[in-house]
């Protein structure tokens, strides 16, 4: 989740409250405190609240909660007289654009850092790494309107941000960090979007990089914002969050005329109407709040009320349903003022029979003198296949694992138990270990799952007979039936020292002495014997 750094003294001035009070209340607007330093606090915010991406936005909410500045914030706009034309060929490349201006800004270094951090978070969150939405901030005084959002070929050249010479679109895509990181959004396209002014100066090549001429510096007072997107709603949401944040930072907002899809003016910062259902609020919170208390609580969450509707500020992109107002009332009222009620149960509870069966298998095995292991279900091909010299053609693999050690779902427990033995060669022998765990197999495009029990016995005198003794005892106790054994084969066990274990004529698993090649492959120095059988099948058999 994204993180915002809050400078305490700056924030205290913005909100008008002391450090202790602020740290105590931050969690109650839904922010997670990630770390507290001497002069600052780092908080994590959820991506549904992009308006928390700067201390401006957090201060706005906090002032509401503390009753210092409650109610719906209003954002005035006036026409900037900038218009932008649209090249219809872009409708299949990056169709949507929305713009705004913010003038009369006087940003200090921390203001700029906050805004840039917000821009990054918006790119990564709502913007889905710029694929869906990309933002450009420009020095408005370097622009000569009207502007064009137009399509160009890959040979088109301009000076990109931070560059000192013209580069072609193609060489930016192939040769720059930004091109490689974000070029995927334009993959396969022969036409590329650029925003230019009336002199042909390039403001931006979205979603890759801005032009150098219009770059924002600490001296910039007037900012032009462009937001391009593949999803108009997402683009408009991002613009609303950014514009209202710049308004909090002291900017006067200006609108821009957009030619597509219909002629329109952006940003649209009108509050959104949500039906206010007081009885729903009361029933979700379990609080018999009066209408006045509900209105007051909403005001503390910076939400207005007009007749039967609540008015959500435009930057609140997370208000989808009337039920969302219940939480806003709860937050404004104070979640810690809503007392818990324990709901006594009217019915007795019940264990799942199979989970109980697994649990009792563990008790029986531990009672046999074994140590229970819990290894990972995801393991690697070496442990599962090559150490046993068997093919991996039927493996159940996961896509793009972060670590190859956790890339294949096991089809048996013996391999990961062998790995456990090999990690414990310095521990005292004899070692007798077992595991009850889930295994996976694949047949005809479907994955099936079952629970196995396996045990391994490792010491200098370990033998088939010892393993069989444990197998027979656990079967007798779990099933109430004697297990029988017939000569068989298994990839873990030596031929001639392996048997198929059956209960009531149903094949359950194998018992045997682990092959010396396998013992060697796992780096062990003592003989190992053991068994593995299907607990799911045994359970079915007993039902």
């Amino acid at each position: 989740m994204p993180v915002v750094r809050i400078d305490i003294s700056r924030f205290s001035k913005m909100v008008g409250a002391n450090k202790k009070k602020l740290i105590d209340r931050l969690p109650y607007i839904g922010l997670d405190i990630e770390g507290i330093e001497k002069d600052s606090v780092r908080v994590e915010y959820s991506p549904n609240r992009p308006d928390f991406g700067t201390d401006f936005g957090i201060a706005r909410a906090m002032k509401g909660l503390l009753g210092k500045d409650a109610g719906l914030p209003r954002f005035a706009t006036s026409p900037s007289r900038i218009s932008i034309s649209y090249d219809r060929r872009l409708s299949s490349v990056r169709p949507f654009i929305a713009c705004a201006t913010a003038t009369g800004l006087d940003l200090d270094d921390e203001d700029i850092r906050q805004v840039i951090s917000l821009q990054e978070d918006l790119h990564n969150g709502l913007g889905r790494r710029r694929k869906v939405v990309a933002i450009g901030l420009h020095d408005m005084d370097a622009i000569k309107p009207p502007l064009s959002y137009t399509a160009v070929a890959s040979s088109f050249k301009f000076v990109p941000l931070g560059g000192n010479r013209e580069l072609s679109i193609r060489s930016i895509l192939d040769g720059s960090d930004e091109g490689r990181a974000y070029g995927g959004a334009l993959a396969g396209s022969k036409l590329f979007p650029v925003i230019t002014d009336s002199r042909g100066t390039v403001l931006s090549f979205p979603p890759i990089i801005n032009g150098d001429v219009t770059k924002v510096t600490s001296k910039t007072k007037n900012v032009f914002i462009d937001v391009t997107s593949t999803d108009q709603k997402a683009g408009d949401d991002v613009l609303a969050v950014l514009a209202t944040t710049l308004a909090e930072a002291g900017g006067k907002l200006g609108t821009v005329s957009i030619a597509y899809p219909n002629p329109r003016v952006t940003p649209d910062l009108e509050p959104r109407k949500i039906p206010l259902d007081a009885s729903l609020v009361r029933s979700v919170l379990g609080m018999n709040l009066s209408q006045a208390e509900i209105v007051k609580s909403l005001a503390r969450s910076r939400i207005g009320v007009q007749g039967k509707y609540a008015l959500g500020p435009r930057y609140r992109i997370d208000l989808l349903h009337p039920v969302d107002l219940a939480e806003e009332v709860g937050l404004g009222y104070g979640m810690d003022r809503i007392g818990p009620i324990y709901p006594p149960s009217k019915r007795p509870g019940s264990f799942d029979r199979f989970e109980d069966f697994l649990d009792s298998a563990s008790t029986v095995m531990a009672g046999s003198g074994m140590i229970e292991m819990m290894t990972f279900e995801l393991t690697d091909e070496k442990c599962l296949y090559s150490n046993f010299g068997r093919p991996s053609s039927e493996k159940v693999a996961v896509h793009n694992p972060k670590s190859l050690e956790h890339s294949v779902l096991r089809d048996a427990l013996i391999p990961t138990l062998m790995a456990s033995l090999s990690k414990n060669v310095k521990s005292d022998y004899p070692q007798r270990i077992f595991e009850i765990g889930r295994v996976y197999s694949k047949a005809r495009g479907e994955v099936s799952e079952s629970w196995h029990l396996a045990c391994l016995v490792a010491h200098s005198q370990s033998s088939f007979t010892e393993a069989k003794m444990f197998l027979e005892s656990v079967c007798r106790i779990m099933a109430g039936k004697e297990a029988s054994a017939t000569a068989g084969q298994h990839w873990a066990f030596s031929p001639g020292r392996c048997a198929v274990a059956k209960v009531a004529k149903s094949e359950l698993g194998h018992v045997g002495e682990v092959r010396p090649e396998v013992i060697d492959a796992f780096g062990l120095g003592v003989p190992v014997s053991g068994f593995e059988f299907d607990l799911t099948r045994l359970y079915e058999l007993l039902k």
Partner: protein, 436 residues
Amino acid sequence: MSRLTVVRRPPELDLVDLATKAAAPLTLEALRGQFGSAEEFSAAFGRARSAGWVRVEGGPPPIVRVVDSAGPRTLSSLLVSISAGTTKEALPTDQSKLVADLLKRGVLSKAEARTTSVAITEAGKEAATFSADVNLIDKLTPEVIAARTWRGRQMRPIDVEAKAPRFAPGRRHPVRDFIREVRETYISMGFTEVQGRSVHPGFWNFDALFIPQDHPSREMQDTFYLEGLSDKKLTRTGVVANVAATHESGWKTGSKGWGYHWSIDEARRLVLRTHNTVLTVRALSESKEKETRVFAVSKVYRNENLDYKHLAEFYQMDGIMVGEGLNVRHLMGFLTEFYKKLGMSEVKLWPTYFPYTEPSLEVVGFSKAVNAWIELSGSGVFRPEVTLPLGVRVPVLAWGPGIERLMLMRYGLDDMRALYGDDLTWLRERRELAGS
């Protein structure tokens, strides 16, 4: 005192013997044939030649001639003398280099011997006479019991303070014991246990919980998708159609929906469940009970690199509570009580965000070990966008806590990997019921 043992006869002696005893000088080839392997021969021949005992002459074919018989004799008699028990210290000093060489080659082995004289003390003498007392029983045997010869006699006292041999009993895994405790806690609060598969179509893991298809948590870097597998039986009918329409435009739930084009292919992809709410929700959708409490303690899977606070698979103990009139205060009440039973008496509930609950609360508990509030569980009231498409019209409270953090606190550990690190020594020796 170093006692020497002859481990094996040096092969160069065999070679000299063969060459000496042959009726006529042997060819190199013939001599080689007398040895079991080429390696053995070349070792023997190499040593004999470098010691100057033999020489290769003439040829073809070349023959091997013994040119020094004193050397082999010295070595032989040394070995004989060692076999007879002569210690290293008792051997002539000019042979120490040879002995060192033979030890290095493994021809000889050395054992340090120490002589300790033991004398019986007065107390010992007394004990000896005491134990000879016919009125004391050394060991109670079946015979003694059967014949009742113990009558009027006592057991001979032994040193009861001496250490007994170390024994490692069999044990259940601490995670299993903790899970048992959690299950019992749930049962005591009126919950029914459910279990189920680890592999589910994305539909049940994500879509049914109103998690939009382009939500970052659905991306491969966070979620394990099974390679090349999907649930082709899933079609846009019934519950699936309701959920799809809810995502797109809110369906009949009163919501705006997410406003995007929903894809069945994305919903069909098979994932390793990322939470167990998938189990409780499926149970709910099948039973449609108006009043029920259901829980599942099972593994969840996340595509993570392992570190002290992240695992790729770990346990969660998700639950839901369904019933007319349930609200966020009951959620708070339940969670406070649940954690109290599990040993966390100080918990707080902070607002947070999940796509599928409204309101959403985060349970934090105070850890004395780190002197801070730590996250214990996400929780909330299911959104109408979750319940209505499943045909559930009553409030559903839901939560999904992990178990590992609680366990770490209990065992005083700070690394989640330690719980599953298959360290046999810890599993054998850890204190039973630690911290509880």
